[in-house]
């Protein structure tokens, strides 16, 4: 418990004197843009992850709508083949790497430290660096639109079609380097978050007392930690081929193009789970809260999550059932893939069992969660039909697959994320989102989503291949494509309603001059609701001490002498006041953003001119040393914590 009783050096709100640093002193601003650029606060970083993801969502969403417009009618000439190929590639890439993954990271960053009762993540500056390097990598990827066109190889960019001979523009280089850079952020982020979960939990919070969301974050980050390097290697091989004339995918030199597929999917399948598991964690918090019951079978929920993460490593070749890997491999991967349905099925049934016999408050967050359960089930079931390798030869690379993974990633993950936003919005921003707009959004999204992607099951089984710029009237795909296009516009509009809701609700809240919402507006269960909303900078005034799972709830409700649960206190009564006197917080820093900014310079240099690598590398080395030598800002701290500063004086 001592871990939270920090040196009480700084009265909150006061800024420490900063030591001159040569280049930068630690930033002193308390408001404005600079606080965001230099923040090391996990909550601000989480919000920035979310904002960046929404920004990229708009790019990916516009691409999606362009695809749907193009496919609305047969023989359409809305987009050229060349541009269409870029659009669907970038849609997939942006949505996977720059939308779903960072929204997961947003929730993990914002919530996980609060849920484990920590004051921040283990390495706050690295956390900021992770965000900025992800964001700059994503921006760099998207600059390809203006620099000769986006990548055009599909989001998994199979070799040798990704080679310079078949894709001579720089699009795939941007895909490669941009994602490589974003991957650095994922990797450092995963190390950081795993360390936080494992090592910074509140006193008494054993691993089996941590909330399910935190567990899923842990599993997710382990998947990232171990999957990203495999993609990195694939990207290194590709970059070597494209930019430096290597031969890894040069068939004429005896290379085997399937190497790319193996490497990509060894990464890619864990990737799929690391996109869905955070949403599983989110609904595992929402459903118990609004069913007024604890999660059904907590250990099963945890272990099934671990099992999914673990089994995710043994099934990658089910993406390659038609690649010609041989019947033995196909059979082995079929069986392995089948059994992934078991832990996912356990989760679904446990969510239903949690609702069973509950007192269900059907608000927006809960509706989104229920929709996740049902829609993910649809995606899971079509997944089982893909796992049947023989039959998959009829389904893979058709719209049936497109339907499948959108049911998983949109109907599953994204619905969970939107539900999570409704649930935690008051915690992050201090005001409630409108339930009326929320429910409208929910129903529009459900209708739009199912109208968009439901017909794709039919289209796929009718034989419509994916990644088709156009189709012919004779194929008979017209009706359902038009339906999907109509659905996609409903879906696009309804997705943006979260922003509309945030704006309208905020205006109303301010106009009505209402105070910040209380600590615990939902009568919820986990530690983040035991502090004020919006969460104060320092999170917890003092260490929460945890004795059980859902500790906060058990402090509110206790059994009376008759064994009947009674509310002994409201959440607001129990909540920490949030005055945070004397809490020492890590000071903001310029170095994470500067260091992260140096990396894309190297990236552009690798693509365009190696000379540009030199200033990038110099800036990077300078930032690393600047970072390492940056003093702790609080001069009152005695002993070795101060020696950064002293050391700096001597060095500089």
């Amino acid at each position: 418990m001592a871990m939270m009783e920090e040196p009480l050096a700084l009265p909150s709100g006061t800024v420490a004197r900063s030591r001159p640093l040569g280049a930068f002193s630690r930033p002193r601003e308390t408001s404005g843009l600079v606080t965001w650029l230099t923040t090391v606060d996990h909550k601000k970083i989480g919000i920035m992850y979310g904002a960046a993801a929404l920004f990229f969502l708009i790019i990916g969403g516009i691409a999606a709508l362009m695809i749907r417009v193009q496919l609305a009618v047969p023989d359409s000439e809305f987009l050229s083949a060349e541009f269409y190929n870029q659009v669907f590639t970038m849609h997939g890439t942006v949505m996977v790497f720059l939308v779903v993954m960072p929204i997961g990271a947003a929730f993990a960053n914002y919530l996980m430290p609060l849920q484990v009762g920590a004051r921040d993540v283990a390495f706050p500056r690295i956390n900021a660096f992770s965000f900025w390097v992800f964001f700059f990598g994503g921006l760099m990827l998207n600059t390809s639109w203006f620099l000769g066109g986006g990548a055009d190889g599909g989001w998994f960019n199979y070799a040798p079609n990704n080679g310079i001979a078949f894709s001579p523009s720089n699009g795939i280089d941007f895909w490669n380097i941009g994602l490589f850079i974003a991957g650095i952020g994922s990797l450092t982020g995963s190390v950081n978050l795993i360390t936080t979960v494992l090592n910074m939990r509140a006193p008494g919070m054993s691993l089996m007392k941590t909330p399910v969301f935190t567990w899923m974050t842990l599993v997710t980050q382990f998947l990232l930690l171990l999957a990203i390097p495999v993609l990195t290697v694939a990207q290194i091989l590709l970059a070597s081929d494209r930019l430096f004339g290597a031969n890894f995918f040069n068939v004429e030199q005896g290379a085997d193009p399937l190497l790319w597929q193996h490497l990509f999917w060894i990464f890619g399948h864990p990737e799929v789970y690391l996109m869905i598991l955070p949403a599983f964690g989110i609904v595992s918090e929402i459903i118990p809260t609004f069913s007024r019951k604890p999660i059904f079978g907590y250990p099963f929920m945890v272990f099934s999550g671990i099992a999914i993460g673990f089994m995710g490593w043994g099934v990658w070749a089910h993406h390659m059932f038609v690649s010609g890997i041989g019947p033995l491999s196909v059979a082995a991967f079929t069986v392995a893939t089948m059994f992934i349905a078991v832990p996912t099925g356990v989760k679904i049934l446990n969510w239903l069992a949690t609702m069973w016999g509950g007192k269900i408050i059907l608000n927006t967050a809960m509706l989104f969660s229920i929709a996740l359960v049902i829609q993910f089930t649809v995606g899971g079931l079509s997944g089982v039909s893909h796992a049947m390798a023989a039959h998959d030869t009829q389904q893979t690379d058709t719209y049936y697959i497109v339907a499948h993974f959108h049911y998983v990633l949109f109907g599953g993950a994204f619905f969970g994320f939107i539900g999570g936003m409704y649930f935690w919005w008051p915690k992050a921003f201090g005001y409630m989102l409108s339930e009326r707009i929320g429910k409208l959004q929910f129903w529009l999204m459900v209708i739009g989503f199912n109208l968009t992607f439901g017909p794709m099951h039919i289209l796929g089984l009718q034989g419509m291949p994916r990644r088709m710029q156009t189709y012919s009237d004779a194929h008979g795909f017209n009706f359902w494509n038009m339906a999907a296009t109509i659905g996609s516009f409903i879906l696009g509009f309804s997705t943006l309603m979260i922003l509309l809701n945030a704006f309208v609700s905020y205006r109303k809240w301010v106009a009505a001059d209402r105070p910040n919402v209380g600590a615990d507006p939902w009568d919820a269960r986990t530690l983040e609701w035991s502090i004020q909303s919006p969460a104060p900078d320092h999170n917890f005034d003092h260490d929460p001490v945890v004795t059980s799972l859902d500790d906060f709830w058990h402090r509110k409700y206790q059994k009376d002498e008759n064994g009947v649960l009674r509310r002994v206190a409201t959440g607001d009564e129990l909540a920490q006041p949030g005055n945070g006197e004397g809490v020492h917080l890590p000071a903001p820093s310029y170095w994470p953003i500067v260091l992260a900014g140096s990396i894309p310079i190297i990236g552009y240099g690798v693509i365009y001119s190696l000379w540009l690598v030199i200033p990038g590398a110099v800036l990077m080395m300078a930032s690393i040393y600047g970072w390492a030598l940056e003093p702790a800002d609080d001069l009152d701290i005695d002993d070795h914590h101060d020696d950064h500063a002293k050391e700096l004086e001597t060095v500089s």
């Binding site: 078949f166 078991v342 023989a390």
Partner: protein
Amino acid sequence: MSTTKTRKRSFMPRTFVSRALPVAGAALVLSACADDKPLNTFEPRGPRAQSLYDLMFDSGTWYVMGIVFVLVTFGGIFVAIKNRVDPATYDPEDLPVQTHGNITLEVAWTILPAVVLAIISVFVVRTIFELEEPNEPGELDVMVIGQQWWWEYRYDVDGDGFFTDGNGDGVVDEADQELPLEIALDPDDVVTATEMVIPAGEQVDLILTSRDVIHSFWIPRLNGKRDTVPGRWHTWSLEADEPGKYTGWCTEYCGLSHARMRMSVIALDDAEFDAWLANQQQQAEVPSDPEAAAGREIFANQCVSCHVIDDGEFEYPENFAETVPLVSHAAPNLTHFATRSTYAGGIFGSYAGPGTDPDDDALDASVYNQLSELSQNPDSPDDYRWNTAELKRWVANAPGQKAMASDVNPDTGLGRGMLPFPQLTDEELDQVVAYLATLD
């Protein structure tokens, strides 16, 4: 405690859910069974596709999926509606029974799906290996070569397995896979493009490979798909129960004109197939008609650096020497161009007339061998005619008709599409097309 602001009971359109879902389900079944979908996977026309179709029913997978779907969907909605409380009037102390779990139940729903899946996987594994069974000796082998953005087929007519069994040990093995693609075929063997003609009722084994990037060969009503990977030789097979046209589509994303890389399989009855084969084994004739002869001259000047027409007279560039007489190279072999009903990667019809839409499966297989004759017969009751105008447009400016990267790669000598020929006059185009019409 809850500050949810809803005053009214939340809107839960039971009617929508309870009506729309069955309707959607029915629509799925109906439209999947409709027979105007030439690529429909629910409409098997051959034993391999049939076994894939049956797999999902025999193993009970569709039923299990259906039951789980209904249980979770309606179970979830039912529980949500039945147990809901009105947040405006809900007393937070009115707590439900605080169940933490039920080990028996949870173990049961861990084990039960595992057992079901284990049973299903037995069926799947069996089918996987069934699909790999080769055809009988003496039946046809065809090599399928994917290329941006059309398909080449090489028929091992004499059955010596020349391209499948280089070391003559009767087995297609790794050593055979080292054979370069440019090797010439035996004189009896046949090379063609875009349309694969097979005998109905016979299993045709395919050897799949690619010249450039990964493609995937898929005739949905005959079998599932398999990728053609450069540098690798995969095996796959097709069998059509009845004569007919079966369309397909490249299904592995293969670059710019992926959407325009289509193909079809024409299954003919035995006699028709033999006639077709005998014709394909002939060399093309040097035309006597002056217009066509002029066309041949133009072809000799402009086209032979990519296209092969085997009439024994053409002089080809040096790097073609080893591949002539039969093999196509950078572009389709056109020796019997006029016998094919489609061209340009199966997106245009060479003939107009009943059922000639390239993407439609309505073409009557029994007229397939006579298309050329019918088109030249002004009294033809079926009114087939040579698609002269479209062909002229194609020859004049192919990249305008189909997205292509026409620049020739100096390293590989391969173009990735046909060049435009703006230098050809209208008259010359007429002559070229007239020449092509003689290639039957």
